[in-house]
Assembly symmetry: C2
Homo-oligomer: 320 residues x 2
């Protein structure tokens, strides 16, 4: 029995995840779902946002469907998402940007870079170490090259003209691309942020370090209607977690206006990860048809509510 852990989390996570789950269940009634609590809400109730019990539950699952968690800028609070990515060693953050004339996959290294957690305060300055390891670069490069091999080509986003740490990253990625026989070029991350917007057709798979991927994928969301549209996968050797790129959006939570597309598409990525390409394609196709029929949430200029959009997708998958 394949077991899917479901973490709604906070804010709009609680609205979009139930829809994504219902859509997955509709195409794969055989999967076993179980709810796992984590996040700011849990923390306020219990003092622990993601304790050992939560982690054990997540580890026991074949895949995790994740919503969003609120991270207060309280220095004492550790981001749940970062904790999970780290403890499950989810090293590849895969973010497809798909839409009219756009078909890009950003592969973001997800465990190191500026997210090293190595930080300290000196007398009058705060320091964070950006870490680029050979092993970390190698495994993300392999992941990105394997993906690019089945697609078209690879772009390595970097800032090697300033950061020596990126010379290592570029060296490893280009070597891996050569070995894999993948056409590859490098691009400075600032220039890339602009060129991706101006000429999305020139990009296919983009691999980059952690925070560059974070910024780049949000900027690229501009091409396809914003964050409400972007799904993501966080992949490790043994675990995998699927989540919309958007956050918990407390400002719009509980109002039935959040766009559930990102969460539903994350569900499709989960299905694909389980090896069920047909089910994944059915979900993607259902979303496309609903959007194409003009049923859209407010962020896209439509009037459909979160639940109404979800119901429309459910009808489509039922039909498919």
């Amino acid at each position: 029995m394949t077991k899917i852990a479901v973490v709604e989390g906070d804010g709009i996570g609680r609205e979009v995840v139930p829809i994504a789950r219902a859509v997955i269940e509709a195409v794969r009634p055989d999967l076993e779902f179980f709810e796992v609590e984590a996040g700011y809400g849990l923390w306020k109730r219990t003092g622990n946002a993601c304790g050992e019990e939560t982690m054990a539950d997540l580890r026991s699952a074949d895949a995790v469907l994740f919503g969003a968690v609120t991270t207060p800028p309280d220095p004492g609070y550790r981001s749940v998402l970062l904790q999970i990515r780290r403890e499950l060693d989810l090293y590849a953050n895969v973010r497809p940007i798909r839409g009219e004339g756009v078909d890009i996959v950003i592969v973001r290294e997800n465990t190191e870079g500026l997210y090293s957690g190595i930080e300290w305060m000196e007398s009058d300055r705060a320091c964070t170490v950006r870490v680029v390891s050979r092993r970390g670069s190698e495994r993300i490069a392999r992941y990105a090259c394997a993906l690019a091999k089945s697609r078209r080509h690879l772009t390595v986003g970097n800032k090697a003209n300033v950061l020596k740490s990126d010379c290592l990253f570029v060296e490893v990625c280009t070597a891996e691309a050569a070995r894999a026989g993948v056409p590859c070029r490098t691009c400075y991350i600032d220039a890339l942020a602009l060129d991706l917007l101006m000429h999305p057709d020139r990009y296919d798979v983009v691999v980059t370090t952690n925070i560059f991927g974070d910024i780049l994928s949000d900027a690229a969301a501009y091409l396809v209607g914003g964050l409400g549209m972007l799904p993501s996968a966080n992949i490790g050797e043994r675990h995998a977690l699927f989540e919309p790129v958007h956050g918990s959006a407390p400002d719009i939570a509980g109002r039935n206006i959040a766009n559930p597309v990102a969460a539903i598409r994350s569900g499709a990525m989960l299905l694909s990860h389980l090896g069920d390409a047909a089910a994944a394609a059915a979900v993607e196709e259902a979303v496309r048809r609903v959007l194409g029929a003009g049923i859209q949430t407010r962020d896209l200029g439509g009037v459909a509510g979160t639940r109404e959009f979800g119901a429309a997708v459910l009808r489509e998958v039922g039909r498919g």
Copy 2:
């Protein structure tokens, strides 16, 4: 006598700077210009891209008009631009993004963050220290707040949900904004990269750390026609350098197709820095009129050459 050091540098720097200089000279024939050599070309000839003599020349100037220098990704080569910014302590990198419905100024901290130069290689990983100092944050916050005071409001781009070093940056900026009486809000840099594109009208002055400002300004160039349009100022207590945001673009160099607008507008910023708001406005207006007349370089979809565009701007300032 006010002395302007002119550094053409490499690539298209050699094409756009002479035009910017001619435009400045046309409105201010009293300024004294002197050429200073620096960059990759000089390095290839002399083994030194920016030696003590160059630095002394730059220090002796009242302002520097700078083109672009090529930075080969050779680990032994140090970026001339970074060297100059550091040695002249040009702490504020000011990048106006102006165009149809867009009027934003990105104020980028220009001396620390990931550009600290504190880097090392451990056994199997490369590390760079991101440094955020209280003093560095205070002076850029003061600069940004003074600017925002004469405009509308301030946004502090940061990643304090991940980087403790950004908690300090945010704390200092918001405190300074409160003291200056400037309306201020904070925004995570990933969300900001997207929202700036989707809702440019919501932004006025944006202050952020070094590499975030680097990426954000390139992405924002999308709003106004790309890098060919973006000027910048690098401001310190004692020195100031004005340069297009674009690089030396070796791929298009020497073909009379580079867009000189960024360089000319950098010249306008230089005039404004010298206290001559009228001359700066005259140059800006001339550029606007020429563009409005449909005279545009290839990057904007036009057919005008670099020199032809420059000649048109010169005619306009002559007329004004």
